[in-house]
């Protein structure tokens, strides 16, 4: 994880989370989140699945690194771990992935993970896993592309101090 993580960030990510949760109804008793320790405990337990999810969205594509190499999953979990509603959405959706995979999502191969994400993205908008997919995609892309390394050789210098005179004819 880089020493100076970007600040995509908490405010923006929370905004995305609020939008994802708006109007969403999770089935009663759908998850067991509340019995299980602190947010940090939850994040540690959930990390393998979120690592796999983020690297499916954003795999290593040399010279661009994978999402995990840029610390993206940790930033996603840091947002979710303090929010009980988000934790429930994550748990419910990760259970959906495990059930669909017929085992642990983080233990199936990359092609299977890709197919599972396709199935998740095709669910009706009202389905919690569909909301989870879009929230994860938005947050992961936001955190990932905040790193200039994500663009590999296509990286741009920041807008200042040089400006972008190449935009003029």
């Amino acid at each position: 994880m880089p020493s100076n993580p970007p600040r995509f960030t908490r405010r923006q990510a929370l905004g995305l989370a609020a939008a994802a949760l708006a109007g969403l109804v999770l089935p009663a008793g759908a998850t067991e989140t509340e019995r299980e320790g602190t947010g940090q405990d939850w994040a540690a337990r959930t990390a393998p699945a979120i690592d796999a999810f983020c690297d499916t969205l954003l795999p290593a594509d040399p010279p661009a690194p994978a999402a995990t190499a840029l610390g993206v999953p940790a930033q996603v979990l840091a947002i979710a771990q303090d929010n009980p509603n988000l934790r429930r959405l994550f748990d419910f959706s990760l259970q959906w992935l495990d059930q669909s995979a017929g085992g642990r999502f983080d233990e199936v191969d990359a092609a299977t993970r890709h197919g599972l994400l396709e199935a998740m993205a095709a669910l009706p908008w009202e389905a919690p896993p569909r909301r989870f997919f879009h929230l994860m995609r938005d947050m992961a892309m936001g955190f990932y592309y905040a790193h200039p390394e994500a663009l590999g050789e296509a990286r741009l210098p920041p807008p200042q101090p040089g400006g972008y005179f190449e935009s003029l004819p």
């Binding site: 995509f8 661009a64 995609r137 892309m141 296509a154 920041p158 040089g162």
Partner: protein
Amino acid sequence: MSARDDFDVVVVGAGAGGGAMAWRLVQQGLRVLLLDAGPAFDPATDYPLDRADWESRHFPVKPGSRGQYTFAPMQGLEAAHDDLRSWNRVQGRLNRGDRRLPAGPGYHHVRGIGGSTLHYTGEAHRLNPRAMKLRSEHGVGADWPLDYTALEPYYLEAERLVGVAGPDATGDRWRSAPYPLPAHPLCRASQWLAVGAGKLGWRWEPNPRAALSRPYDGRPPCNYCGQCNRGCPRGDKGSADVTFIAKARASGRCEVRPDCTVVGLVVSGRRRIGAVDVVDGTGQRRRIDTPALVLAGGAIETPRLLLLHNMQHPRQAIAADGGQLGRNLLESTGWTSVGLAPEPLASHGGLPSDAICWDFNRPDARDGVVGGFRLSAAVHEADMTGPIAYARRAVPGWGKGHQAAVRKALGHAVAVAAIGEYLPHPGSFVDLDPSARDRHGLPLARIHSFNDARAVRLLAEMARSCRLLMQAAGVEDLVEEYGNYDYYSAAHVFGTCRMGTDPSSAVVDADLAVHGWENLLVCDASVFPSSGGGEAPTLTLQALAIRAADRLASRLFGKTV
């Protein structure tokens, strides 16, 4: 506790109007106290566009830099207008409900020293003279109580102070002198759109901009980083803090106090303001006496402050005679189409909104609907400049193919925005929320907004024109469109303290004085009787402010202009 600070005028609100008012008053030799509920911003540290993660950082939100307000439930959406709903290629429809919603905060503004000019694009428009006579010439809305000729010298003054860069062509807006600076060159993306406009026979010309095209008045020229809306760290954008307010301060006769919230108006004698009650940044409440008061908090907060006063002091009610206070809320009707050009255009850079088309700006430009609009280049205002935006909004999918597509698409984005006239409607107004309160226990403003059939017709014309221009320019690959049909999203709001000659239909007169209240002025966009056909209001507000400052200095303090 009451304090005699020995000011001639207290100005509440340090944005475009309050800043220009303060500057002109100190030019007249008066002593001014400029208050704002928001903080001060430091361009060097608050706008870090030199950081690798610049795209993650939008204009900063600091404690107190956003006002609080609520929205009344908005109207339902109709299937007949589905082609006016906002969408992008990644998410599909953005508002999946059946009701219009605020987009994010809805009312996009900044509280602080410089106000919303801190995050504005910096278009420096004069109002089309034909948009000032909607009632007499088109039978809708309201006329302005003064005409373009009365404002022209003050436009010129504001343009000189800010350092506006504009074209030679004047169109409907005659000028008594050229712009102080030459127009900026059009960026490659705007030139791409110019080809399309040429095919349609539309004039696509440099947009007058409050951004320096040459060194001017000790400020450096723009270097085309494209991020005016994230705050300008160089000071080439003519936001009020680095122009009017900086000069007012330099006079030694203007004191600027951020983080000071006005919580009450004190009436002294018959129809005369004597003081304001203020809570400062430490929470201390004090009363500041003043011979004259200028309210410049914007079209939401200014009527709120007056409505609060009237609720608390009904026998000393202000601007209550005509029943217009808070009514006639005008917003800016907008539509934006974003697409990817087939060639790389380095469209992450360039001057935002550097090109404009005024062809449809007159109120009668389109048959069957009163109200003009303008078209302009909008890729920066659409915030389609960095890889986060491309990845999240423009390029669908994920995985390696997605990463490659994002890299390939960068710099290809082009966008056209239309902004148009919004007419008064009984369903659009500001009142006090019956339950939501601020930290001082005072009711918040509540925004009511309604798009009537005319507004939807105009929006449809605007969307059609944006799509036509994109198509003519060869941008077939649209990736996102959004507008005011399914979202309330307004940076420009007007009309809630309407200016007019008749106290029964207006709150302030042409000198911005509240009818019947000699020493109380309103100096923000709430005084606009009409919104114009898409013109950015800042320059007009500054011209009004300078004129009103001269009138106030003459009337109350015997100063000669």
